[in-house]
Symmetry: C3
Subunit: 349 residues, 3 copies
């Protein structure tokens, strides 16, 4: 009688080059989009209105890029991070074709790096994950690395291998939706007069509003993404753990911060790339999340009506972000900082 | 470098006659309807079943009128009430064509009145807001007035202007859906034998059931409506405020009370008008909401199969409504009363 | 002036043979499915992906069988169990045609048994409830029995009548979806290599993960099912009651346990029957639910590619289920056991 329960992979279960086809393909629906709206309050017009989307050349409203991210990510959890100690970082995340309701998402991952930690108890696993739609078209291609427990500390360490990753996605990697034509873009309906030309490198934007997170909200979100990591759901385990609380899925904070960024970046209608990202501190129910953005770079695209901004999106907890907290002189994150995300956004030029 | 963040309009930013096109058009979907069901538990058959709707001459189930109200209302918040001290009242609200899933809602408002308060620190702004679908057909046309902070107490007061508003929407303003034909209306499936003829002016109906509100519920609802008012979401701000709690969006109480009213008014299949309304006391998570109705007037409509009832819907908190609490001898609301809504409902005759 | 409010039926309102057509037909949508996903985190591929469903011969993803169960059940509550003291048990539950989004569900119940309790204050009501789609095709046919208060303890007891119910649904009663053809079933996408032949009678499977329930979650779920039983929603009533807490709808636990069972039974793609079930102990917000399964019987079906397992699904609260708690020597349930469900599942052979 074989044990039928899957306890997740441990560090020594991974091999560089290994390809994992993740379970549970998912057809994304209008229901998922409504829940995303109800959980974060996004107001970007292109995702909210079929009419607005059609006015800029799309067949109808595409699904929010970050909802696509969470669904692609969620599929990887049972195989990659069920025994993760920490989600260490993201890099080289490129969004491909837009996701539409009715599309079915599947995710495949390739192990691209392994490095045992000096403790011998854990190791870092690098995976490149690719989400595709039912036509096999790439929706999202990104790398993340996680610290994973070893099953047996005595198991020999593999040859260390760390993949080369770009500091940011090069402009050739930035993909605009086919047919996009911003001639019909209405900045009044989009909610702000400020377009690409109005932003300057170095500019910081306080997104002002805050959002307090409830236990039910992050659980509902995380299950919506079919992300099964126990740390988000089991208070009994948490009672015995380091924090005594259920940890909030880091992607929940990314989405909250992105939605707060509407006030200041309302015309940033699309996420083109996730260049780098880390969850600087854990978050728990009851925390109030604020956010600010810093423009890192301005990028011209082939389409003369669209420009890209490379932006640092910083989220804080329990502290309004108007004084732009980030890192101290020691290079360490301020205790209030919970997210440091470097991503690239498209705006009308 | 212009400040990109919008701090909302203050009293002196409004002028009588000013027209505001609100941002973020919204395509309403089946997902929004499901969330509305899950948040309030409505059981009106016409909104719940395509088959029932077709039996009374509609192409499929229309979206609940109050969900339409919340979406139209939500669009106005960033421009009208981000700096509101209080939402003072509603009047002359008329529902037009039904909202169906797939329709896209946009809202435009006109400032119809301004009156500075004697304190010089705040003023009352009257706005007439009109929500339309993608064909420009009116979904909802209503007036509300809000108390808004002045940016600068020293700014001169505008000429006071208060718009004339009817005490209730006249019967000519009551619009039934095109094609409605109640010959096929099934009172068993609708959940009650009582039709228009069974109700009497002065009759009070205790809706019996109560519903306790959770923080996550009102936040999920309010974000679903893309209503961004900070008071509903930011516990840090609330900690420093008058109540120490996040305030629940008044519309959340309207929907709860309307859904509770099913038990006693199951055949009131449509809201035709909102004649007047005020949020008598604030509500917070943990409050348990009860409701009762009082029939104010019976109105015959041109359609011989439909009648209208003008009804006062009163919601209370933490006190069952069986003894019909309302106002004291001093004309002030009982402390338990949180909503006093005068609206007009359609029933089979 | 008739009292318009319905206080629910009491024991003496039921007669054996009585047929009740329940109110509020319901068109099930993608929004309902998304909420179900967000509330429980199901990962069964056939319900998650239209592509996966098509690969096994279905037109698109069917709605989760337990969501169908909850919707059919919810309709019966206002007429059957509004005055219920306890939901005592389920039997002879057979799932018929699959439910698809767009279908409209109505439920009819027949009273099949009545037995007054010795106290004279309550009685047991047996109802056979049948949910059908808009074509009148049977979706679910099951019996449940509930303890209902008498309105008047002095009312005479009816002739006791207890319906004959099978210990389990016979294999002739197990219905596979028309067109089902498991040749295209992909166990990798389904999430487990273990198929029907890998399970043995007597085998117990610990589903490992736990899920802590929030007040908002069970309320949102229960309203989604239009289940109106007061005990789930009204904290004021609860304050005065036996537990001081809002009781969680028993079906919420069934769905949680079924979703947890994915880890160990990922290929159990369909619920064919509910043979018996009881809610062994009440559950409240804050409880963490775990689950295990025990294989009771292996059943061959006419389709050579499909087998059925009769399984006991046990859910516990606040205690991981790895040591399989069940009943003590006295035949009473362990205090941690909250659900004892005997059901029949279909798997690829």
């Amino acid at each position: 009688m074989t044990n039928k329960t899957f306890a997740g992979n441990f560090f020594e279960d991974f091999r560089v080059g290994q390809v994992i086809t993740h379970a549970t393909p998912r057809t994304v629906t209008e229901g998922d989009v409504s829940l995303y709206t109800a959980l974060y309050g996004p107001r970007f017009a292109i995702n909210s209105s079929d009419e607005f989307a059609r006015a800029v050349g799309m067949e109808r409203a595409p699904v929010d890029d970050l909802l696509a991210f969470h669904i692609v990510f969620g599929k990887t959890v049972p195989d990659v991070s069920l025994n993760a100690v920490a989600n260490l970082g993201y890099a080289n995340g490129r969004f491909g074709v837009p996701l539409f309701t009715g599309d079915t998402v599947t995710t495949t991952s390739t192990v691209t790096g392994l490095k045992e930690n000096s403790s011998g108890k854990t190791g870092v696993v690098y995976v490149n994950s690719v989400g595709v739609n039912q036509r096999g078209e790439m929706l999202l291609d990104y790398t993340r690395w996680v610290m994973v427990n070893k099953r047996d500390a005595a198991a020999p360490a593999p040859e260390p291998m760390v993949p080369a990753l770009p500091a940011s996605v090069p402009s050739e990697g930035l993909v605009l939706p086919a047919g996009l034509s911003l001639g019909g873009y209405d900045t009044t309906l989009a909610g702000s007069p400020f377009v690409w030309g109005d932003y300057e490198v170095g500019e910081k934007i306080d997104h002002v509003e805050g959002m307090t997170i409830e236990e039910a909200e992050h659980q509902i979100a995380t299950r919506l993404y079919q992300n099964t990591a126990k740390v988000h759901f089991d208070q009994k385990i948490a009672d015995a753990g380091r924090f005594g609380r259920r940890l909030i899925y880091g992607g929940h904070i990314i989405s909250l911060a992105r939605c707060l960024s509407f006030n200041g970046l309302a015309n940033a209608f699309k996420v083109l790339a996730i260049n780098a990202g880390s969850h600087a501190n854990p978050t728990f129910a009851g925390d109030t999340i604020y956010a600010y953005s810093e423009v890192l770079e301005k990028i011209e695209l082939a389409d003369p009506l669209v420009g890209a901004l490379q932006v640092r999106l910083v989220a804080t907890k329990d502290r309004p972000a108007g004084d732009f907290p980030y890192k101290g002189d020691d290079g360490k994150y301020d205790a209030s900082v919970v997210l440091d995300l470097d991503y690239t956004l498209a705006l009308p030029r």
